[in-house]
């Protein structure tokens, strides 16, 4: 019997023993990963590492057992996005008693670097060999989140995940995914697909404007996630306006619109880094294909369930998802005909989609555990420290 991807409706669960066996490599890797944290002194660190380790293992086991990807990945991704601000804000409050970053911290290079800035840095770096960000290139005791470390992380993620960074690596995307999961039905159904072009327009605009002004324009004016991380200290009309924009964008794009549309609106219709990452969509060896022979004409379940509008009728006809596809697995899990399938480039479509899914998930989950798992453990440690 060919090993094929099964939809949640048709696929029987995999046996517990086989699922455990498939989880074993991840269990061993993550044990290695969490061992240094487990050795840290103090109960909160040990407990947090144990919970994070168990959490990542349980989700992977459930992916193996149920053959579903989207539901369990989403739990991880939302948890990551809600835990990241907890750990981040906690560290900020401990360090400087505030979420705002004063100018003296900027000029001393103590601003933590965020991957969102990477495309903005490219033109000034190429032209003047300078990085237009008030951080530090190398890690320092007061700023371990240096530019070099974050760029290295992004490069590794791009090799391993490609555009799937937006489903397994980004510590912000889970916020709008979380709010998009709240309502049972979408209140706003009709979305003009032209909105998908907006992130590209924002990407071009912020890259050019940043190069022209020598300021990271996106961070200073447009990042919705400044509302839940850090922002320039409000000491003037300009910084007050910036703060207001961050709050408005966060509420609009990350809370209200995802709730109304059940789509990841910030990721799909705004995020310039998501657009930038789409450039690397085709470099990943893993992708999702639509088997045209199996696809029932007019079904469009996959199109309706895609959180980022990365499938349309043309792409179904072409048997591919669009370059904005984040490999979240929603289309594969929802397809009742097993037509949307995981795929490894070079192999025939639909031959061994479950094998392709397994290989993809090993790569993605190793990265997710290394990066997201440690963020979750860090936040948990802070929360447990409150209780014990």
């Amino acid at each position: 019997m060919p090993d094929q991807a099964r939809s949640i409706v048709l696929a029987p669960p995999r046996g517990i023993g086989r699922s455990l066996l498939l989880t074993l490599p991840i269990a061993l890797f993550t044990l290695l990963l969490f061992t240094p944290v487990l050795r840290q002194p103090g109960l909160p660190a040990k407990l947090a590492a144990l919970i994070a380790w168990g959490f990542m293992l349980t989700l992977f086991f459930l992916m193996m057992r149920t053959r579903e990807t989207y539901r369990w990945r989403r739990i991880f991704f939302i948890t990551l996005a809600f835990m990241f601000p907890i750990g981040f804000i906690w560290d900020l409050i401990a360090l400087r008693s505030s979420m705002s970053i004063p100018i003296e911290k900027m000029i001393s290079g103590d601003t933590p670097f965020c991957f969102m800035v990477i495309p903005i840095l490219l033109i000034p770096a190429a032209l003047t060999k300078t990085l237009i960000f008030p951080g530090s290139i190398l890690p320092t005791p007061s700023n371990p989140h240096s530019i070099a470390m974050m760029v290295a992380l992004w490069l590794l993620a791009t090799v391993v995940l490609g555009k799937a960074w937006c489903s397994y690596g980004c510590f912000f995307g889970g916020l709008d995914e979380g709010f998009s999961s709240v309502a049972k039905k979408a209140r706003l159904r009709k979305i003009n697909p032209q909105w998908r072009l907006v992130p590209w327009a924002i990407l071009v605009a912020v890259v050019l404007l940043s190069a022209a002004t020598y300021e990271p324009i996106y961070c200073m004016w447009l990042c919705p996630f400044k509302a839940v991380t850090e922002f320039p200290a409000v000491r003037s009309v300009q910084t007050g306006l910036q703060f207001g924009i961050f709050i408005a964008l966060f509420l609009g794009l990350v809370v209200v619109l995802p709730y109304l549309t059940k789509r990841r609106t910030q990721c799909a219709f705004f995020c310039p880094f998501g657009a930038f990452q789409s450039i690397f969509s085709r470099t990943s060896i893993f992708d999702i294909r639509i088997d045209k022979e199996k696809c029932a004409a007019g079904c469009v379940l996959c199109q309706n369930h895609c959180p980022t509008l990365s499938i349309d009728k043309d792409s179904i006809q072409a048997g591919k998802t669009l370059s904005t596809c984040t490999r979240c697995g929603a289309c594969v899990d929802v397809c009742r005909k097993d037509a949307a399938v995981w795929h490894i480039k070079g192999t025939p479509v639909g031959l061994s989609p479950e094998r392709a899914r397994l290989l993809y998930l090993y790569a993605a989950w190793v990265f997710a555990s290394m990066f997201g798992g440690s963020i979750i453990a860090n936040a948990l440690q802070k929360l447990i420290g409150l209780l014990v």
Binding site: I103, L131, F133, V159, I285, T347, P348, A363, F367
Partner: protein, 163 residues
């Protein structure tokens, strides 16, 4: 021949997993060391640029940086010179000092500020121009990257705006 692309595909998939597993062990160290050897620097708008000369005073030093020109016509930050008093803990309670910013031997401005003992107290600086090179500052705190006074660790940083 149909099998070759499939073999290459599976090979690349396995290599991707290997990159995910092995990458974190050495990649960050290798990349960080490589980054340290490049000519890339933080833009002087944020870092203040490079030190030009150090003036020794009784118990403290003044480091005068090279002038940072306006980075582009659209940049909101103008030209400035960064001056650093270090260590802040050894500074007298008030500073008022004529300083040569361009290294021509003649003072360009007088920089004056109080140094409160409380390291969290707000600082304010006044700059009186002595030449056309310098723009005045009156009781300025931290208006912009090109016009500010700030306590950074155990130093006091002043950025004097230039024409």
């Amino acid at each position: 021949m149909k099998r070759l692309p499939a073999i290459l595909g599976y090979g690349a998939a396995v290599l991707t997993i290997a990159a995910a597993v092995v990458g974190p062990l050495f990649w960050f160290g290798v990349f960080t060391r490589a980054a340290a050897t490049t000519a890339l620097r933080i833009d002087p708008i944020y870092s203040g640029g490079e030190p030009a000369r150090t003036l020794a005073r009784d118990g403290y030093q003044i480091v005068v940086y090279k002038p940072v020109p306006k980075r582009s016509p659209l940049s909101p930050s103008g030209a400035f010179v960064q001056i650093v008093w270090t260590p802040a803990s050894k500074l007298p309670s008030a500073i008022s000092e004529p300083l040569d910013l361009d290294g021509n031997g003649r003072p360009d401005c007088v920089v004056s500020f109080q140094v409160p003992r409380d390291p969290k107290a707000k600082l304010q600086v006044t700059v009186e121009p002595l030449t056309a090179l310098v723009l005045p500052m009156h009781q300025v705190s931290d208006d912009s990257f090109s016009s500010l006074i700030a306590r950074v660790n155990d130093t006091v940083v002043v950025r004097v705006p230039l024409r």
